[in-house]
């Protein structure tokens, strides 16, 4: 593993964006006309050289979408989105960004500084025009192209397929046709259906039978990641007895001109397979008045399709103006297991409505939910979760623990658990606590010499420890740092 870790570190240090012209061919400066129509969908599909079945799939979704209405049940508030005002296919260059870092929110720049992000990367993250196009000499030990190539070769040797979903549609149509939409059907919900019609790009992973993926897969390695736009689509399949761990996101706050993000992630675990999916989400939350932040309306679902399979979601959510997502598990196979570990931090005017669904269908299925919500500033943080046991799910077990921590007196934390059991042998346990960082707790730390910021960071890190431990090592340290930074200025 050390060699692999080194590779991972190297690639992460090098900004891969500058190689986009080497790998991505379908991006052109053209964009589809504003608004959504069958014509626009045909345009997108043609641009991506998709086969007919894919176009039909998109069109079916679009027709369905036309009959749907936006859901309103979440505890979030935002102005009505005009879907005719959005662009559904646009190369990133065509939407004007800031001309230089001088035009970027200074708060955002301060955060980059604290995270120790190099200047050039700050420009790319902040979406400064042309920042990603500039060629800068890479003074790494070896050429980064070869790193990516080595990485790809190692995966190939193991038989793992890891590529963009567009590439998968062209290269592995049988796999895509078999699994795409099998967990989140095109008819699922308003935003998932919209995504099905217009999805831009995303990741595809297939781990063959009996293979343990030799490394953590990360979106860092995906060259065209930056251009996946607002409707990302990810599909991960672990065949019988396979194992894969996937990391999504980035601790650095990313700015994006697209305000609405409606991604779909589907996971399929066959017999005895295991998928671990970790997310660190730190989209731009908006300025200090809450303006300009990202709306993150995501559908993430895993299907434990085979017996003894296991799917584990771990998420650290600190960014976005609005987060609305419920990474869920369908426990279809007997003895399958689902896990959800979540830290959701909200500050300023952020709104979070997040949680999970554990649907127990098979016998002796187990699920575990550990959710830690931290609300500061004027934010609202809701945990919403469903645990259900089907009539046939004898011996189903769930343990849920939802803790909320409040910082200050203008924020809100809410817990909305739904529990449905149609089988008398199911055992569901639910624990929930809400606490406030108490003045005397804070004073105790100050008396020992800690500043109020250090004290809050310490108390919060203690609060989220159970979840941080679930993250892959390299993410855990960054996530801790990120949480502290997200809460800066929340006391005193």
């Amino acid at each position: 593993m050390p060699a692999v870790q080194e590779t991972v570190d190297q690639v992460r240090r090098i900004d891969v964006d500058q190689y986009k012209y080497g790998f991505v061919t379908e991006i052109e400066s053209e964009k589809a006309p504003k608004g959504l129509s069958e014509e626009v969908i045909r345009f997108i599909s043609a641009k991506k050289n998709e086969p007919d079945w894919m176009l039909e799939w998109r069109l079916d979704a679009y027709r369905r979408w036309l009959t749907m209405t936006e859901p309103t049940w979440a505890r979030v508030h935002y102005p009505k989105i005009d879907f005719e005002e959005l662009y559904y296919y646009a190369a990133p260059k065509s939407t004007p960004g800031p001309k230089s870092l001088d035009e970027v929110d200074p708060e955002l720049l301060a955060t980059y500084e604290k995270l120790g992000i190099p200047l050039r990367e700050r420009e790319i993250l902040a979406g400064v025009e042309g920042a990603g196009d500039r060629r800068v000499a890479v003074d790494a030990v070896f050429d980064s192209v070869s790193v990516v190539t080595t990485f790809k070769e190692e995966l190939k040797k193991a038989g793992v397929i890891f590529c963009s979903i567009s590439e998968a549609i062209r290269e592995y149509p049988d796999l895509v046709r078999k699994y795409l939409g099998s967990v989140v059907p095109t008819t699922d919900n308003f935003y998932a259906t919209l995504n099905s019609a217009v999805f831009s790009d995303g990741s595809f992973v297939y781990v063959p039978e009996g293979v343990r993926c030799p490394m953590e897969l990360s979106t860092y390695f995906r060259i065209n990641e930056r251009n996946t736009g607002q409707f990302e689509r990810t599909l991960i399949i672990a065949d019988k007895g396979a194992y894969v761990s996937y990391l999504e996101g980035c601790t650095a706050p990313q700015r994006d001109e697209n305000q609405l993000h409606a991604a779909v992630v589907e996971l399929v675990a066959l017999d005895d397979a295991e998928i671990k999916y970790s997310t660190v989400q730190n989209w731009y939350p908006g300025d200090k008045d809450g303006k300009g932040g990202i709306y993150n309306f995501v559908t993430k679902r895993g299907d434990c399709r085979g017996p003894r399979s296991k799917i584990s979601w771990t998420q650290v959510e600190t960014g976005s103006a609005i987060t609305w997502k419920y990474p869920s598990c369908i426990l279809r196979g007997d003895d399958s297991q689902g896990e959800f570990y979540s830290i959701a931090v909200s500050n300023g005017y952020q709104q979070v409505d997040s949680g999970t669904k554990m649907i127990h269908l098979g016998k002796n299925t187990k699920s575990r939910i550990i959710s830690k919500g931290i609300a500061a500033g004027r934010s609202d943080n809701t945990y919403r979760g469903l645990v259900s046991a089907h009539r046939k799910a004898s011996g189903a077990r769930n343990f849920t623990n939802c803790d909320s921590l409040l910082i200050g007196d203008q924020c809100g934390a809410h817990t909305v658990p739904y529990i449905e059991s149609k089988n008398a042998s199911a055992v569901f346990e639910h624990e929930a606590t809400t606490s406030k960082i108490a003045d005397d707790q804070l004073f105790y730390c100050l008396q020992r010499g800690l500043s109020s910021e250090e004290a809050v960071a310490l108390i919060v890190n203690g609060f989220v420890k159970d979840v941080i431990q679930q993250l892959p090592m390299e993410f855990a340290v960054e996530a801790q740092k990120l949480i502290s930074i997200s809460l800066e200025g929340s006391v005193g």
Partner: protein, 249 residues
């Protein structure tokens, strides 16, 4: 070391300290005794810089420097330590982690370099052994599930590691059985030094059998009403606080 003049402090408009005058010279141990509600704990909080109190009059000189406006964490770095009557719990934060964070925060504030891990471990090990603080306790989250005795020993351990110039012990004997009281007192006595002053706040005389003070002050209704030698504590033990409660009101 500590010089308090005509200190008045109130909380929510209610005056608790009504003109405290107190001198604690370097190297001395002073005890403050008094009935419940006399303002003993308030005095300890005000000295440590807890927010929420209005200092309406008077001054607190520490090493000749006025500290009424100094924030709590800066006072800590200057060398004021408060051993809490009810030490706070911090779930998920190992005691060891907390100790290191506190020591390094104070060092940083004083412009000193942070401790290396081996250096830190060595210091903790030496002090912990003396106070019967086990490695297992150090790994547990700070004060979570600690017994009364463990919490107080942990306070004294922090005092030993932070090496304050002025240690304020607020009702350190409360909740301790006789054996635990001995361990804690021995720990405190070991930290007596010509460079360090202590202010021992207690309701009962029994603590002062173990930690023998140079001076005993009696506090009632927010003022120091009498001062004397260690024998004053014995007199209070025999006669109670009734005289002072009546006199001050």
């Amino acid at each position: 070391m500590l010089s308090i003049k005509n200190l008045h402090a109130s909380i929510d408009g209610r005056e608790i300290l009504r003109g405290i005058d107190l001198e604690v010279p370097t190297g001395q141990v002073h005890a403050i005794m008094g009935p419940n509600g006399s303002g003993k704990s308030t005095l300890s909080y005000v000295l440590a810089g807890r927010e929420g109190y209005d200092i309406t009059d008077g001054s607190i000189l520490f090493d000749g420097e006025e500290i009424v406006e100094t924030p709590a964490e800066e006072r800590a770095a200057k060398g004021i330590f408060l051993a809490f009557q009810y030490p706070l719990e911090i779930p998920g934060v190992a005691t060891m982690t907390f100790l290191k964070a506190a020591m390094n925060a104070q060092r940083k504030a004083r412009g000193e370099t942070e401790l290396t891990t081996p250096d830190f471990m060595r210091r903790v090990k030496t002090s912990a052994e003396k106070l019967n603080v086990t490695q297992e306790m150090l790994r547990r989250p700070l004060n979570v599930g600690f017994s009364g005795g463990e919490k107080k020993r942990n306070e004294i351990l922090q005092m030993a590691l932070l090496e304050p110039k002025l240690a304020i012990l607020d009702e350190t004997d409360s909740g301790l059985d006789i054996d635990a009281l001995r361990v804690v007192s021995d720990g405190v006595n070991a930290l007596r030094s010509p460079d360090r002053s202590m202010l021992v706040i207690t309701h009962y005389q029994r603590l002062l059998d173990h930690i023998v003070p140079d001076v005993v002050h009696v506090m009632a209704a927010g003022r120091i009403v009498r001062s004397g030698g260690p024998e004053l504590a014995l007199e209070l033990e025999a006669n109670g606080y009734a005289d002072y409660v009546g006199a001050a009101a």
